[in-house]
């Protein structure tokens, strides 16, 4: 039945309560007894004691009342003291009666006679003091009257006394008689002043006389002074006499009943009687106090006896109650230990041991008492379930840890930066690459650092943020409202570094961002764009140059044709020369355009760049002018390159001229050569000029782009250099900044061929030769440009050849079939299908193997083979003459 621990405890508690109830009942009975005894004491002993105490206090107060009454100042204070006295006497009577009733035979009767006697005495004393006070008031009044009177007499006598004294002191009076008489009046005036002073002194002494004898003496003295004053009045100045007599007359009032003497005598008598009464009342008060003290003592003894009896009762009952209570508590403790505590303790210890084993990793730890049906059994079963779950949780934790480690290792080892922010824009995770990318130290960042703070640090490093469309985003607002958007941004650092951010929101707030360093990629993309642009411009330029060359060919051909007619027409010949010169300049421009579009015909050979530069120095110094200091630094181990030396000289000259213009003719220009790696030789032309703004650097190679003033430059110099170098397999770079000067670097691929191995000798060194003429040989001219075809045919006929003209390949083959005397095929290389120049030549030669072939073209094309000859349009007459002759003579 009592299987549960709870039930066992309830039973023990019940028994304990029952035992305590029994003990309490015993204590209650004891308290009833104590109460009965206390009631007995309260009824009789306490009131008696109270009354005795009141009497003692009244007795003490009565003793003090007499001096207080004597000391009271003023009628009100005395009345108050008398009233208090009456109250004390009434209290004395009533408390004496009560004590007599409560404590018969305690000597109370002895007090009955003393109280009325004391009351009578004190009443008399109060009356006497009242009378004395009246005297004091009257005396004060008389004093005040006397003071005023004395002031008045001083006012009467004073000015005259002062005037006489001053006159005597100064002796300033003119009238000697008057002066003598004035001196005689000084005596009576001073006597009067002195006597009045003495009279007032005596009166004031009398007002304070301590005894009646001294009062009598003062009275006699005053009377004598009064008579002397009377006697002196006739001697004072007549003008002062009436007032002085009146004032002295007022002194007589002091001798009457209302005067100082009578009043002080009355006061002294009252004081004497008061003394007697005080002595009597003190005696009675002392007797009264002694009686009261005896009463109080007796009452206190009674109370002490009652209190002792009551104390015994309380002690006995208290001991009994305490003993029973201790026994009950001990019994309850024993029972609790035997039936509850010991059992619980044993089982809990077993559970604890099982838990310790579990904590040590013992999976098969068993808990005892699982079969019990009480709370211990419940605990054991719950523990068992807990143990199983703990092992499952442990396994899960292990798996998670492994995954987490994998993830961390991934993040830490990826190339890009990686961050995770919470919904409030605070950093919660990041990898070391992130810190490296932004130049942050781990001291700057901690868990929960707001992104805004990171952005402030970046702003300090002058970083700028752009969208993928190139729109700048303020760094300060980067963290605002961007957590919910998927977006891609670029951070551009001052040094040119670019970091791309790809940000993805996390479903439950916050976002993940990948930070990639795309500096190199962006640079390469830029270079690619530039190269593509230059390529496109080159193709465009080349096309235009081709067309333009054809047009120029026509113009030059016609002009050449006209030349003989001009010989005898000087006026027309000048015009003809200017037209020819313009056509020449146009041809050179086209030449440069072709150079840029890498379609110029080069005559490459192995060149020692240092020698070439050294050989140019004289020419350069002449061209640059005196204001420019030219210097060189040539690397001794510079390898040879394979380029067209004429074009390289041309390029260096162009660069030097540009440099001179940039320094405005006043500055320094430096030409350096150096090895650039194993593969290239570099020629750098530097100036101390104005430099080029960064935004224009990409455009400097574009044809017709110039920063020079209108008419100063053609805008083709650098384009030509670019085209030449690129065509020669090299690179050109420009380093420049405004105010810092400009350096143009030409890098050319190194060649392994020995110098002088070039197949093509430079033809520009050929001196002018006499124009060879034909001897009637038949030449077939083929060109799809009808105008040019006509001009060329006319030129060749002018040179003495028989000319057949064909505007396409088919017509040409037909002419070949028709005219077996044709010795030379002169054909444009680029013609509409099916026959281009090369194909036509190949077909013609297959039919007529002895046929000589000469190509022409407005494009920069290589001849189909090394033995073939190619004339670039426009073709000057002399070149045509030599080339045709050379071809025919092979």
């Amino acid at each position: 039945m009592l299987a549960g621990i709870q039930w066992r405890l309830l039973l023990i508690l019940g028994l304990t309560v029952l035992a305590l109830l029994a003990a309490s009942a015993t204590a209650l009975i004891a308290l009833m007894e104590i109460r009965a005894e206390a009631a007995a004491v309260t009824k009789r002993a306490l009131p008696a004691s109270g009354a005795a105490l009141v009497l003692a206090r009244v007795g003490e107060r009565l003793q003090d009342r007499t001096p207080a009454l004597m000391a009271a100042k003023g009628a009100d204070a005395r009345r108050r003291q008398t009233e208090l006295l009456k109250q004390d006497l009434l209290l004395l009577g009533s408390e004496t009666d009560r004590l007599r009733h409560l404590h018969p035979g305690g000597g109370v009767e002895d007090l009955s006679g003393l109280a009325p006697a004391l009351a009578d005495d004190l009443r008399d004393l109060a009356n006497v003091l009242e009378a004395r006070a009246a005297y004091v008031t009257a005396l004060e009044h008389q004093r005040s009257v006397l003071m005023d009177l004395r002031d008045h007499v001083q006012q009467i006598l004073g000015p005259s006394i002062l005037a006489v004294a001053a006159a005597i002191d100064r002796q300033s009076t003119a009238d000697a008689t008057l002066f003598r008489r004035a001196a005689t009046t000084q005596g009576p005036l001073l006597d009067a002043e002195r006597l009045v002073g003495r009279a007032f002194s005596e009166l004031l002494i009398a007002a304070d006389a301590p005894t009646s004898q001294e009062l009598g003496l003062a009275h006699d003295t005053f009377k004598r002074i009064r008579y002397r004053l009377e006697a002196i009045i006739p001697s004072v100045p007549s003008g002062l006499r009436p007032e002085l007599r009146d004032a002295i007359g007022e002194l007589d009032d002091q001798l009457t009943l209302s005067g100082v003497f009578a009043l002080r005598a009355g006061e002294l008598a009252a004081l004497e009687r008061a003394d007697r009464l005080v002595t009597g009342s003190r005696r009675i008060a002392a007797a009264l106090k002694a009686g009261v003290d005896a009463l109080v003592l007796s009452a206190n003894e009674n109370i002490a006896r009652a209190a002792a009896a009551m104390g015994d009762t309380i002690l006995t009952n208290t001991v009994l109650f305490v003993a029973v209570s201790i026994a009950v508590v001990l019994l309850a403790t024993l029972l609790s230990y035997r039936f509850v505590v010991r059992d619980i303790s044993l089982n809990l210890r077993a559970v604890t041991r099982a838990m310790q084993r579990l904590a040590a990793g013992e999976r098969d730890a068993r808990v005892p008492a699982m079969e019990r049906r009480d709370e211990i059994g419940d605990l054991a079963r719950v523990f068992n379930v807990f143990k199983d779950q703990a092992f499952e949780v442990g396994a899960l934790h292990q798996q998670l840890l492994e995954k987490s480690n994998l993830l961390v290792a991934t993040f830490d080892n990826m190339n890009d930066g990686f961050t995770v922010c919470d919904a409030e824009g605070r950093l919660v995770a990041w990898n070391p690459q992130y810190l490296d990318l932004y130049g942050l130290s781990s001291d700057h960042i901690e868990f929960g650092t707001p992104l805004t703070r990171v952005h402030r640090m970046l702003a300090g490093g002058r970083a700028k943020v752009f969208t993928t469309l190139g729109q700048e985003v303020p760094l300060s607002t980067l963290a605002e409202g961007r957590g919910t958007l998927k977006e891609q941004l670029e951070v551009h650092f001052q040094g040119g570094r670019v970091v791309e951010l790809r940000r993805n929101p996390i479903p439950d707030g916050g976002f993940v961002t990948i930070h990639m360093d795309v500096t190199e990629r962006r640079a390469m993309e830029g270079q690619l764009r530039q190269a593509q642009k230059m390529e496109a411009v080159g193709q465009l330029t080349g096309g235009i140059a081709h067309d333009f060359n054809n047009i120029l060919g026509t113009i030059v051909g016609n002009l050449t044709f006209l030349e003989p007619a001009m010989r005898n027409e000087p006026a027309l010949r000048d015009r003809w020369k200017r037209a020819m010169a313009a056509a020449d300049r146009a041809a050179r421009q086209v030449e440069r355009l072709l150079a840029f579009s890498r379609r110029q015909r080069l005559a490459p050979e192995v060149v020692d760049v240092n020698s070439l530069v050294a050989g140019m120095l004289d020419l350069l110094e002449c061209s640059l002018g005196e204001g420019v200091a030219l210097s060189t630094e040539l690397a001794p181990d510079l390898p040879a390159v394979r380029v067209d030396p004429g074009q390289l000289e041309n390029a260096l000259m162009n660069l030097a001229i540009n440099a001179r213009d940039a320094t405005k003719g006043e500055g320094r220009i430096r030409i350096e050569t150096m090895r650039h790696g194993e593969e290239a030789a570099e020629i750098a032309v530097s100036d101390t000029g104005c430099g080029i703004p960064a935004e224009l650097l990409d455009r400097v190679f574009e044809p017709f782009f110039t920063t020079k003033a209108d008419g100063k430059g053609s805008g083709l110099g650098l384009s030509m250099v670019y085209g030449f170098v690129r065509q020669s397999g090299g690179e050109v770079h420009v380093d420049s900044a405004p105010g810092q000067g400009t350096t143009v670097r030409i890098r050319l691929p190194v060649t392994v061929e020995p110098a002088g191995a070039s197949a093509l000798a430079a033809s520009r060194d050929d001196g002018p030769l006499p124009m060879p003429r034909g001897n009637g040989d038949s030449v077939l001219v083929v060109d799809d440009n009808q105008d040019l075809l006509a001009v060329t045919a006319d030129q060749l006929r002018g040179l003495g050849y028989r000319v057949l003209a064909a505007s396409d390949g088919a017509a040409a083959l037909e002419a070949l079939e028709r005219e077996p005397g044709i010795r030379l095929l002169y054909t444009d290389m680029l013609m509409p299908p099916p026959w281009d120049g090369v194909g036509l030549a190949r077909e013609a030669v297959s039919r007529r193997p002895d046929l000589a072939v000469l190509f022409t073209s407005a494009e920069t094309l290589e001849p189909p083979d090394s033995s073939a000859q190619l004339l670039r349009k426009p073709v000057a007459l002399d070149r045509l003459a030599h080339a045709v002759r050379r071809a025919l003579s092979r």
């Binding site: 006012q155 008057l178 100045p237 007549s238």
Partner: protein, 485 residues
């Protein structure tokens, strides 16, 4: 009011004829007063006219001012004062009061007396509720300056350059000292070297009121009325406080800008030498205006302007014993000397005739003439004399008269007017201060020490004469309590 004067004169004449003459044939009224033309001059002139009107002869005895008090007081004390009427400073009345006959009610109630300005009527004529004197003169201190010098452009330029402000009549004691220092030694317009200002420094030459005038602005605190000479509650002397020390220092320092014989100047010399054109300014009773403005007596007539006693922004607070700063500079009128009165000794056998003579002396008709004569020492003391500007214009010209009357009216209507000392022993109090002033001027003691010594003497005098009574008199004199008890 002017129309009432003949009526008042008739009342006096009727009173004379109604009284049987006690004087025997060949006897005449005996009058005692000072020996100068001031006050003494009119005494003679009006004696003659009185004799002509009534047949009663008048003989006038004149003694030096510094002997006058002794002569009267010793006469009273010895019973040997053979005079029927005395012309004395009003401040001596308390000392002489026991020996004097009361003023007849007919005269007291006459229009000639009720026309007298309140500050000169009951305050001077009454003592302890008894009417004992008849006012014949009203006194206050004022300043006068040389308008020709002050308006001279070269002088004005020089002053502006030296002091950075335009030259104008002084409004404060500081300005007064600056201007005096500026003019000291300068020659007047075509004249000899000037004194900066003139004030009296001679003992017996009424110098003590000049000191009082300097002290008035410094020692009359608006919150402590009547505390100039004594604490009106305790009768402790106030003359040794910092206000008095400052006033005394400034008064003594001004000797440097006076003439070479500055220590010998009395009040009469001040006004006559100013009229002679010897100084740029002076401070004096109103006599100076009439004298200097009147071409018969003055070399500078027509060129005189006037100013009220200079003001001060600082005032000594006797309660807190510190200097208080007022919102603006304040001038305090000082009723210096009060004025002259006529009294009749009770012992005279010709009391009624003597009063008749005094009433004639002070009649509106005579006083109107006297006040226009700078030598008579009589200054205006009636309201009607200030109300009618015409006589002044005739005497002084429009401009001088306007300035003179303006200053008189402004002084008498000032919010704060300091009254002169008036109590028994007056002469002794003044003598004690004069004694110390001698020592201070001689440099034997500092102003602080001299004033402390004078204060000790005053304290002893107050004790000897009865402190309560003296306190009562002082409070009445200062206008703090009514004077009838």
């Amino acid at each position: 009011m002017n129309r009432l004067w003949p009526v008042a004169l008739m009342v006096v004449t009727l009173a004379l004829t109604g009284i049987g003459w006690a004087l025997g044939a060949g006897q005449s009224l005996r009058i005692l007063t000072r020996d100068t033309s001031a006050v003494g001059g009119p005494a003679l002139a009006h004696g003659h006219s009185f004799a002509r009107r009534t047949g009663i002869g008048v003989s006038v005895t004149q003694v030096p001012f510094e002997q006058l008090y002794d002569r009267v007081m010793l006469g009273f004390v010895t019973g040997d004062l053979d005079f029927d009427a005395l012309l004395i400073p009003s401040a001596w009345l308390p000392d002489f009061a026991p020996y004097l006959a009361p003023l007849p009610k007919a005269i007291r109630d006459s229009a000639a007396v009720t026309d007298i300005l309140p500050v000169y009527r009951k305050a001077l004529m009454c003592w302890q509720g008894r009417w004992l004197a008849l006012t014949i003169d009203g006194d206050l201190h004022m300043g006068a300056y040389r308008r020709d010098l002050f308006e001279d452009s070269a002088t004005r330029d020089a002053f502006l350059k030296a002091y950075g402000r335009p030259l104008a009549p002084p409004r404060t004691w500081a300005e007064y000292r600056d201007i005096a220092a500026f003019f000291k030694g300068r020659s007047g317009v075509n004249g000899p070297a000037l004194a900066g200002t003139l004030e009296a420094y001679a003992r017996g030459g009424q110098r003590i009121w000049y000191l009082f005038s300097h002290a008035a602005a410094y020692t009359n605190h608006p919150d402590h009325p009547g505390a100039m000479f004594f604490d009106p509650d305790t009768m402790k002397p106030a003359i040794d406080n910092q206000g008095w020390v400052r006033a005394l220092r400034e008064y003594l320092e001004l000797r440097r800008v006076g003439p070479a014989d500055v220590d010998g100047l009395d009040s009469e010399a001040v006004r006559t030498r100013f009229a002679a054109g010897e100084a740029a300014m002076d401070i004096d009773w109103a006599d100076t205006g009439v004298l200097a403005g009147d071409a018969r007596h003055s070399r500078i007539a027509g060129n005189v302007g006037f100013f009220v006693l200079p003001a001060s922004r600082e005032v000594w607070n006797p309660g807190t014993r510190i200097w208080d700063r007022l919102p603006r500079p304040r001038s305090v009128t000082f009723l210096a000397f009060g004025g002259w009165v006529g009294v009749v000794p009770a012992a005279s056998p010709n009391v009624d005739q003597a009063w008749s003579y005094l009433a004639w002396y002070a009649s509106p008709e005579n006083s109107a003439k006297d006040m226009l004569d700078g030598t008579t020492g009589i200054n205006p003391y009636r309201q009607s004399q200030l109300d009618d500007p015409n006589p002044w214009r005739e005497l002084l010209g429009e401009r001088q008269a306007a300035s003179y009357l303006g200053v008189l009216r402004a002084s008498l209507s000032a919010r704060q007017k300091a009254r002169d000392l008036r109590l028994p022993g007056y002469r002794a109090y003044i003598a004690a201060l004069e004694d110390q002033l001698d020592r201070m001027m001689a440099g034997r003691v500092s102003p602080e020490e001299g004033l402390r010594a004078a204060a000790r003497s005053w304290e002893a005098l107050t004790d000897r004469l009865g402190r309560n009574s003296q306190r009562r008199h002082y409070r009445q004199a200062m206008g703090l309590d009514s004077g009838t008890h």
